[in-house]
Symmetry: C2
Subunit: 341 residues, 2 copies
């Protein structure tokens, strides 16, 4: 047979018991380190289990325990760059223990999500993490779910749910504060789609920081796509209209890469002549540009870990609170705002 033998299906506890010459009950106790089993007997059982490479059937166990040691991860867009670190963080937090992750990708489709949700519930997952692809609020799964639910990245639109999302407002503020700390005063903003809450939140934070310093944005924020192309085009327009600009806060690293490109084309030196800061800290982009890109990192992996931790806590009966929590972001300084020493 090609792939494998599949001959004898996995050994069961009674196989082990028979080989060890004890009852099923005793075998179970021996394998689970319970009392009331003589040392010699336990040894025999363990050896038998070893020999049959016995693996307890998690389903049978779960059926009894009422717990499956399984958590569902309901994403809406696997492709998205933001999903992966969150997923990793969650997998990380779980992986250490006995918990495994059920992955479901709804492909951004509500019907499919409902379908997957049902599948997860029928598998009796102990908890669910819902990962969205934007920071805009998404429809709640409802309060009727019989297991804890935590929303990551995209918060739920129902305040009774617990949501963890990066703090874009503070991110915007930090970016501007950093630019000001670098001595910049004529700061412009190029960002992506204005329909994204992320774009608006970052602008709000940026404006707050500028206000606090008695400054104003150079021109209006420039909206369009989250792409390098737009970054290039926007930068060209910006530098023509406002040649005296000395810093650009970009809504994404992709946009920032475009801005760097145009700056180079037009002979503006970065960071001396023009400081550029990105957003997302997408390493591949940020560390391979010339100069390397200062950026805001949303700590997504940590966000994923926290979401997992909350689910754990809830499973253990801990009250994990509710509402939308904005998790701290961090500034990663590179050459595009501060000259290399």
């Amino acid at each position: 047979m090609a792939v494998n033998e599949m001959g004898s299906r996995a050994a069961t506890l009674s196989d082990v018991a028979r080989l060890a010459g004890v009852s099923i009950a005793t075998a179970s106790k021996a394998l689970n380190d319970r009392d009331d089993v003589a040392v010699a007997t336990r040894q025999r059982v363990l050896r038998a289990a070893e020999e049959l490479s016995f693996t307890p059937n998690a389903m049978a166990k779960g059926l009894l325990a009422g717990r499956t040691g399984t958590v569902g991860l309901l994403t809406s867009d696997l492709e998205g760059r933001f999903m992966i670190p969150i997923l990793m963080g969650a997998e990380d937090a779980f992986g250490a223990g006995q918990v495994n992750v059920f992955l479901c990708d709804a492909r951004g489709d509500a019907i499919r999500e409902q379908h997957h949700l049902k599948a997860l519930l029928s598998r009796r997952v102990d908890g669910i993490i819902v990962v969205g692809r934007q920071t805009d609020p998404r429809p709640s799964l409802g309060q009727e779910i019989p297991v804890p639910v935590v929303y990551a990245y995209a918060p739920s639109d129902d305040p009774r749910d617990l949501s963890l999302t990066p703090d874009n407002y503070v991110g915007g503020r930090m970016a501007i504060e950093h630019l000001i700390a670098c001595g910049r005063t004529r700061i412009a903003h190029i960002t992506g789609d204005p329909a994204y809450a992320a774009a608006q939140d970052r602008i709000a934070g940026a404006r707050a920081a500028l206000d606090a310093a008695g400054l104003e944005l150079v021109g209006d924020p420039m909206f369009s796509e989250w792409t390098e192309h737009w970054g290039r085009d926007a930068a060209a327009m910006l530098l023509q209209r406002h040649p005296d600009v000395d810093a650009v806060f970009c809504g994404s690293d992709q946009i920032a890469r475009g801005v760097l490109d145009t700056a180079r084309d037009l002979g503006r030196s970065v960071p001396d002549d023009l400081a550029v800061i990105g957003y997302d800290n997408w390493e591949v982009l940020a560390t391979n540009s010339r100069p390397q890109l200062t950026s805001i990192d949303a700590n997504l992996q940590q966000l994923g870990r926290q979401a997992a931790q909350r689910v754990f806590d809830a499973i253990d009966g801990v009250d994990i609170g509710q509402g939308t929590h904005h998790l701290p972001v961090r500034l990663v300084i590179r050459g595009s705002t501060i000259p290399r020493r």
Copy 2:
């Protein structure tokens, strides 16, 4: 309670039966659309199930059926760009049916992998897909696994296993053939770490194509990292040593981006003066460069789908064969090799 009520645990079939005033057996039959149930009775049961929002316990079902409707996805590096499309393809193929995916990330650690494997087996997955992070062969999980195993991307080192991996040899050949078709004859190769099978396979394919056309590579293949930085540096060296080169085959899109950068800096126009082709067809990089990047796409999503399909077939008892299968790749032509019309 914060996250949800969790009050009454999920309803069971006997709850439904009691509410409908029938036996468990009848309830089961009604819900599963089996015969021997009067229409009126079925209606009553369905209504009861609806009311209790009954979801059948997949574990109990699996315990009977001997099948769990679950497949394990054992990756070694979630971070990797290659993992995601494969994962999506697999999830795609499964998602349509009743199958769900267990995701395990071994973080490239053999111990952790063993641990996860055991967890998957104890969950009685019906099959396993092992996804590696490079195309270099990886240690087999062994022939003792009681369920079908398919290796994706990274083939198993045991020819008795079934492995699906992209055809890097043909990829290299296609790249060169395309450049030749574009009228180029002085072709150089800049790639990444020579320890990668991917690098060597692509070179072998490239050499075969050059041979067939009676051509030779300009200079030796240039090895180092799979980064933009290296692409820039390598291109600078190349253009200095061999100013007459008219095409560069790059081992990755990142390297190609670096090459484009340097070409621009040195005033070489792409594609007229110098054609550049990348590898991987990483859309974000390939479509945002100037000009857009021609590249080789490994069809990873399809690879994932195929892996899933093979697992399905094996579960259904179909002999799915063995050995390493090299899946077709495809050329994606953009502006870096052919001028925009």
